[in-house]
Symmetry: C2
Subunit: 113 residues, 2 copies
């Protein structure tokens, strides 16, 4: 199968540390590093009264984290092109956010014959 | 249904203007504006020999565009929380990138009972 990239869609439920912008920023960096991606930029914002949103822009696409502390929920995307394996990042998110439940869907993007 | 956000996954085939970083940046801004989102930051990078990657970080999550000019392909994500309708952004991408084929999948993220 010929495709442009692999997109991992992660939903973390029952998670912790979701209102900590440093945790989110560190998770973006660690996840990018563990999959062997090249980071172009990392940005993370803390909202009031709660919530954090952040993205690591990669030479190989992106990692994004958006958190809803009031729901103990985080929406995470790991999108990488080439032969990188985004699944390696899952352990980083489990360690950082300690979810009780993780839902994971992988999509191959840009499939061509 | 109670959910955290709506995630539109768009794949554009047979597309144009994919190696133009200004087009990508403008599309990120216009798409964010047309859906009524609040832009925190916009970043776009041009790769050599080809390709552009960019993201608009929003108060309501993000819009991302990654292009493969050699495949005439772009992977676009529009992820917004609350009551915003990401489908309004599709026309911006059609106008900017003139794709011959658009594949679209919408996912509700963070569904809770």
């Amino acid at each position: 199968m010929n495709y442009a990239g692999t997109h991992l869609i992660l939903d973390l439920f029952g998670a912790q540390n979701l209102d900590n912008v440093d945790c989110v920023r560190d998770a973006l960096v660690q996840a990018s590093e563990v999959i062997g991606a090249t980071i172009l930029e990392v940005h993370a914002h803390k909202f009031q009264p709660q919530g954090v949103t952040g993205v690591a822009l990669l030479a190989e696409s992106h990692v994004s984290i958006h958190t809803w502390p009031e729901k103990q929920y985080a929406a995470i995307d790991v999108f990488v092109c080439g032969n990188l394996n985004p699944e390696k990042a899952i352990e980083v998110f489990k360690t950082t956010f300690q979810p009780t439940n993780v839902q994971c869907v992988e999509i191959k993007r840009g499939i061509t014959v």
